[in-house]
Amino acid sequence: MTEKKELVYTKPELKLGYGWGHCPGCHHPIVEKLVCEVLEEMDLAGRAVGVAGVGCSFGFFASINIDGANCAHGAAPAVATGIKHALYGKPLVFTIQGDGDCAAIGGGYVLNAAARGEKITIIMVNNANYGTTGGQLAPTTIMGQVTSTTPHGRNAGQGYPIHLPELLVGMQGVAFTARAAPFTPAGYLRAKSYLKTAFQRQLGEAGLTFVELLSACPPNWHMTPLEAIQWMEDKMLPEYPEGIFKDSGGEQ
């Protein structure tokens, strides 16, 4: 029996070059990979326009071969709204935003895009802190977590973690919300499937779609990458369970 070998997994074609310097163990590049794979599998690259927020995903669309932009901190949903309406609803438009970008400074943009029922997909990368600026408290920081602005661990005086996929369920303009943790193989597959459904719902004009993806930030958590994913397993997953929270199905 002669054997040949066939390449079954490699860098997606849409990914240009390689990383631009994320820290070891960071899942931001995993999000790049997921997005590329999903767009390739759905054959949507030519129709997709992405918007990155400010944070460690600022350069997302510099190295992905689809049209894209970055923009003001927090404003990606409004930028996506502008693109979508400019082109009369034609493209697939999605954002990549950090948790600080999306939930803190961008909370009002998300809320209002959801209320307007914009046909866009928001992808929020939740690493429970502000990675770019050196690890400050984010709205997603979990109770007790030490950050540079909660040096003794987050306590109730500094509020509670925010759960956007669950929260947005209550808004009529929202068609789909979900959360996945692509740091495990199962989570990776879940993330892909959620992203696919989100894009489908968007194209079906069902409403706003929202996918949260958990991500490690080892240096700011002061952990090694392996410690970081253990911490995610132990602390983040209980706070931020994976799953679909709303799916209006098909179209509007």
């Binding site: 310097g21 994320h22 820290c23 070891p24 990675g131 770019t132 240096p219 700011n220």
Partner: protein, 188 residues
């Protein structure tokens, strides 16, 4: 007092983020506080993400220190091979370059300066911890320039590390510093 009697010492330390370049500079500056009237430490790096180029400037002087950035420095410490090229040019004629040489493939180009090759990564690994490359090179620097005594650095290290169950680390650091001094006296 500083050992040379010179009014001013300045140095640029260069490397990549997360490898103790800034810390080495800060140690030197902190130690200089007691021996010099003026002290300046200026770090410079592109982002908090690890691995990017990273440098700091340290100036110890008994005169006023004006500019925080230097066109050319009396000395440059190159802690990471990848930074050798750009930073060799930042040494004043007649100045000193101290270069981590474990990963270095060819010699540096300038002949109007003194270049010290210290295989700091190798020595650090030999000491049991690759993290002390910075202390080794700092040792080489103080030895070569006489800017400060090792004890001045020790005191700062002690303040930072003592009493927190980090005695081992402290000892390692001190050892690395002296290993660097030795290497400077007897370069590779």
């Amino acid at each position: 007092m500083n050992r040379t009697g010179a009014m001013r010492h300045d140095v640029i330390m260069a490397g990549v983020g997360g490898r103790g370049v800034l810390m080495a500079g800060l140690l030197l500056a902190q130690a200089g506080m007691t021996e010099y009237r003026n002290v300046l430490w200026f770090p410079s790096y592109a982002s908090t993400m690890r691995g990017g180029p990273c440098e700091c400037t340290v100036i110890l002087s008994n005169n006023i220190i004006a500019s925080p950035m230097l066109s050319l420095a009396q000395a440059v410490i190159i802690m990471e091979t990848s930074q050798a090229g750009p930073f060799e040019n930042r040494v004043q004629p007649g100045g000193i370059a101290i270069v981590e040489s474990t990963g270095l493939s060819e010699k540096m180009g300038r002949d109007d300066i003194t270049t010290l090759y210290i295989p700091a990564v190798e020595r650090a690994v030999a000491l049991g911890n690759a993290q002390v490359v910075n202390l080794l090179l700092l040792g080489a620097y103080i030895e070569t320039t006489g800017v400060l005594s090792p004890e001045a650095i020790d005191r700062v290290l002690e303040n930072r590390l003592a009493g927190r169950g980090r005695e081992q680390l402290l000892a390692l650091n001190k050892r690395a510093l002296r290993e660097g001094m030795k290497a400077a006296r007897d370069p590779a």
